[in-house]
């Protein structure tokens, strides 16, 4: 269930390709995530970090609650990583999204992509974050400095 988000196991290699996804309820270890996509054949690593910032839509933000439909979120992440990985031979991908209550500056999502060349690595992080925002069942409730809390609806 959503509140009991637990780290998924690592699936280190699938046909030699790293594909790791997890929903975690603790701080994301970015260095470890990056190390998962390292390899002697990798010449480029692209990392993307989403962080909690102190304003949104003109309001001062103190923090964010992230909630996930955990098994489905991991399933969708795995599906995204599989689609992008299958389209790019040699791509190594690792993605973690954090849930729970985060404060300004905390990392909410981290995406690491490793490839022999830089263009596929750079493209992969962008494709993953765009797809994640489209289809992974994760929600956020912003805490404003004035005390109000509101679920964010990007479609509104």
């Amino acid at each position: 269930m959503a509140d009991a988000a637990i780290s998924a196991g690592i699936a280190p290699t699938v046909g030699g390709v790293v594909r790791h996804v997890a929903i975690v309820d603790r701080p994301i270890d970015v260095a470890r995530l990056s190390s998962l996509v390292e390899d002697d054949g990798v010449g480029a690593i692209s990392l993307f970090l989403g962080t909690v910032r102190n304003f949104h839509d003109g309001r001062d933000v103190a923090g964010i609650d992230y909630e996930a439909y955990q098994p489905m979120a991991e399933r969708e992440l795995r599906s995204i990583v599989r689609e992008i990985g299958d389209a790019t031979p040699g791509l190594r991908l690792a993605v973690e999204h954090r849930v729970g209550t985060l404060v300004v500056g905390d990392v909410s999502v981290a995406i690491a992509a490793g490839h022999a060349r830089r263009a596929p690595a750079l493209a992969a992080t962008q494709l993953v974050i765009e797809a994640l925002k489209q289809r992974v069942p994760i929600w956020k409730r912003e805490h404003y400095l004035d005390g109000e809390r509101r679920w964010v609806d990007p479609t509104a």
């Binding site: 269930m1 098994p71 979120a73 999502v109 289809r135 069942p137 929600w139 679920w151 509104a156």
Partner: protein
């Protein structure tokens, strides 16, 4: 006979629960379950065609739900 439906985020807040038991006879179509939910207290938060997942996959309104399926209503996602 009833079908448990999982609720999250703004939907859970509106219904005041994270799981609602919908009184339907299975099998039935997803859209029938949505119609019943919209009639319950808090159901006005739902759009006419909300995102629904069955067994962790997005499905369309005409899909049939059978006993044992895990059904969830998915509010507009906002990850990242």
């Amino acid at each position: 006979m009833s079908l448990p439906v999982l609720l999250f985020a703004s939907y859970a807040d509106a219904f005041g629960t994270r799981r609602v038991d919908v009184p339907v006879r299975l099998p039935c179509a997803v859209r029938e379950v949505i119609a019943m939910l919209r009639g319950l207290p808090g159901g006005s938060v739902l759009p006419p065609d909300p995102l629904v997942a069955v067994n962790h996959e997005f499905v369309r309104g005409e899909v049939t739900i059978v006993a044992g399926d895990e059904v969830a209503l998915i509010p507009p996602v906002a990850g990242g």
